[in-house]
């Protein structure tokens, strides 16, 4: 009790605690767990990202057609509300399961892990994780993938990489899609898209393709096979969504 005014004095002690911990370290631990599962089963897991309508589902359908059963393909399709993508993927011969995210704008490592418990996947060669169509949020969450692939349709405009630098910065491969539409888009220049990518990616790896005509698909399949060879010994180019070593 304070002798002057009668108030109750408290021994309030405020201490600073330096934490220096990544806020998403919980997700990163779960992602690392997923990554071990994929590596142990020699499954190439690819996180496929891009805007709504960039052609993610069409790419996977075309990939299944091009591989003609030479590889076992599965997919987890992140979708806010519907089963449409998973239905389309199954129609193309891909073992698929939806991850319905409700209001969530991205997949996280725990959602992927949960889905893995509900689909046979460890006999697959490739597991595509088709993220929610969005160029912002999915870039922040490591899922345990071996590689990030980001789609950019020619109809989206040349400056998308400059507007969404985080997403393109985290891509191991960018696929410029719907190139069959270029004759109808005289204002779009592929060199300008490549230039925009070089301003947000230090060593951009970019392929151009059309899922509709099949143009450029062989280079994409070659890229997958190149990644596949690295899976058994651990990915050569492991994606780090966490701050890189300085």
């Amino acid at each position: 009790m304070c002798g002057t005014c009668g108030c109750v004095e408290t021994d309030k002690t405020v201490v600073p605690v330096d934490v220096h911990e990544r806020i998403l370290s919980g997700n990163e631990r779960q992602a690392e767990h997923n990554r071990h599962h994929f590596r142990d089963s020699c499954v190439l897991a690819v996180n496929v990202m891009g805007s709504p309508g960039a052609g993610k589902t069409a790419l996977l359908e075309a990939t299944a057609r091009a591989l003609e059963g030479r590889r076992g393909i599965g997919a987890l399709a992140g979708d806010l509300a519907t089963e449409n993508d998973a239905d389309r993927l199954r129609g193309a011969g891909i073992r698929a399961r939806s991850i319905t995210t409700g209001m969530a704008c991205h997949l996280d490592a725990a959602m992927v892990h949960h889905a893995l418990h509900h689909m046979a996947w460890n006999d697959l060669d490739y597991l595509f994780i088709e993220n929610v169509g969005n160029l912002v949020c999915p870039a922040v969450y490591d899922l345990g993938q071996a590689a990030n692939v980001v789609l950019l349709a020619v109809t989206e405009g040349e400056d998308k990489p400059l507007k969404y630098p985080v997403m393109f910065n985290r891509a191991d491969l960018v696929l410029i899609t719907k190139i069959d539409l270029l004759p109808h888009l005289p204002e779009i220049s592929l060199p300008r898209i490549h230039d925009a990518l070089a301003r947000v990616m230090p060593a951009p790896r970019v392929l151009e393709l059309s899922a509709r005509t099949g143009a450029g698909l062989h280079a994409w399949i070659d890229w997958l096979m190149e990644q596949e060879r690295s899976v058994a010994d651990g990915p050569l180019h492991q994606v780090q969504l966490v701050p890189r070593p300085r």
Partner: protein, 113 residues
């Protein structure tokens, strides 16, 4: 709007630290957010203020230290100019992000008994 899920992860970390230190309350939270982290500071602040009620952080302001992106040449270490192609003009080396992708819980000031 992934900032809400980031705030949830932040509260979990803070509650863990508060339990370790047997804190009565949290007085201030300091985070570091990089320009190329994919997290928007204003949205993070809004999400924090919305969800801090009924948590140990109910009275604690969130201080966000912004970290500008800085690219350097991975060969010679020279700083690369902003907005340009991410290749070193002197040696041709590819860029490396030296800072600007962090999403870090830096410090918690807490009241202990």
């Amino acid at each position: 709007m992934h900032e809400y899920s980031i705030v949830q992860a932040l509260f979990e970390q803070i509650e863990h630290q508060a339990a370790i230190h047997q804190a009565r309350s949290v007085e201030r939270v300091v985070v570091r957010i990089g320009e190329l982290s994919g997290v928007e500071a204003a949205l993070l602040q809004t999400a924090y203020l919305t969800f801090r009620e009924r948590t140990i952080c109910a009275r604690a302001p969130l201080e966000i230290a912004a970290v500008a992106a800085r690219w350097v040449c991975r060969n010679c270490g020279a700083t690369l100019p902003r907005g340009r192609v991410l290749r070193c003009e002197s040696c041709g080396g590819a860029g490396r992000l030296a800072q600007g992708d962090e999403i870090l819980l830096e410090r918690i000031e807490m009241e202990v008994a």
